[in-house]
């Protein structure tokens, strides 16, 4: 038996009652979400066909959203679902349908060495980052507030109003720009 179930069951038996069991469930679900994120990411960067890659990306984003939920910010989690899964992934899938006929897809590595090289590079970067994370002690400061949705909204429109406006301008420009670039020469 793996420790997951064992701990949960033990907690249940040793009189912690349902509380321990619930925590076990939460931890277990977290593991699942972790796995989903990693698997999704792997599909996204390894899949033969781009549509599979996009589905992997969507899966990964769902996992990331769940992880945000565990990080005490359901609002960002929902936004993650809404924007990344509902908009970005679908846009990418659309672009694949429009611009990448399946027959002409060659998704193998660019050169004989590029695959291993890329793997080594990525591995080194990852190891470096992990090492960094392990070796650093982060100073934990006391919390000033709970960070609810209302606070986010208030701060967005007060302290960060300038950035907020800039981002909206960027979005507007992006919409107009993409329309201009991608406009088909079809007119009836």
């Amino acid at each position: 038996m793996n420790p997951t179930v064992a701990t949960g069951a033990m907690g249940f038996l040793t009189g912690d009652g349902l509380a321990g069991y619930a925590d076990a469930i939460a931890g277990f679900v977290f593991l699942i979400m972790l796995a989903i994120t990693v698997i999704g990411g792997l599909i996204a960067c390894n899949a033969e066909r781009l549509v599979c890659a996009v589905s992997g990306l969507a899966l990964c984003f769902v996992g990331v959203a769940a992880i945000y939920y565990y990080l005490n910010s359901p609002f960002v989690a929902m936004m993650q679902m809404l924007i990344y899964v509902g908009a970005v992934c679908i846009t990418i899938a659309f672009a694949i349908m429009l611009a990448a006929p399946e027959d002409s897809q060659k998704n193998g590595p660019a050169g004989p060495l590029s695959g291993p090289l890329a793997f080594i590079t990525a591995g080194l970067v990852t190891m470096g980052l992990i090492g960094l994370a392990v070796n650093t002690t982060f100073a934990v400061l006391p919390k000033l507030n709970m960070g609810g949705v209302k606070l986010i909204g208030a701060e967005l429109l007060t302290s960060y109003s300038m950035v907020f406006e800039l981002v909206s301008i960027v979005l507007l420009i992006a919409i107009i720009g993409s329309l201009v670039i991608a406009r088909h020469g079809r007119s009836k």
Partner: protein, 108 residues
């Protein structure tokens, strides 16, 4: 530390972010099509967002800042995806390919 309380540990999130970042790098290098590279870059963005959120949860004094940053990253990512994909489509229409190897014309 039980495996079931991993979600209360900052390092878990940092490891995950690192792994996603590595995947993104790997994908960015190996993918040969513009769309594939875009997908990989989305992974990198997700990794950075996770870092922001994790530090926000565990260390930052004001837990709204990280969330706001993540929201901005989302907005920028959406804009980037829209622009990137429209460029992809335009490139495809003119060159009939989205393979970066074949797009020699774009080199200076």
């Amino acid at each position: 530390m039980s495996i079931l309380s991993l979600h209360n540990n900052l390092n878990t999130y940092l490891f995950l972010a690192a792994i996603l970042f590595g995947m993104g790098i790997y994908g960015l290098v190996t993918r040969r099509t513009l769309v594939g590279m875009l997908i990989a870059s989305e992974l990198i963005l997700a990794a950075s967002s996770i870092n922001f959120m994790a530090f926000n949860r565990f260390t930052a004094p004001d837990p709204t800042v990280g969330q706001i940053f993540t929201l901005f990253i989302m907005a920028i990512a959406a804009a980037e995806a829209a622009i990137g994909l429209s460029i992809t489509i335009a490139v495809y229409r003119n060159y009939k390919t989205v393979d970066t190897e074949d797009l020699v014309d774009l080199k200076g």
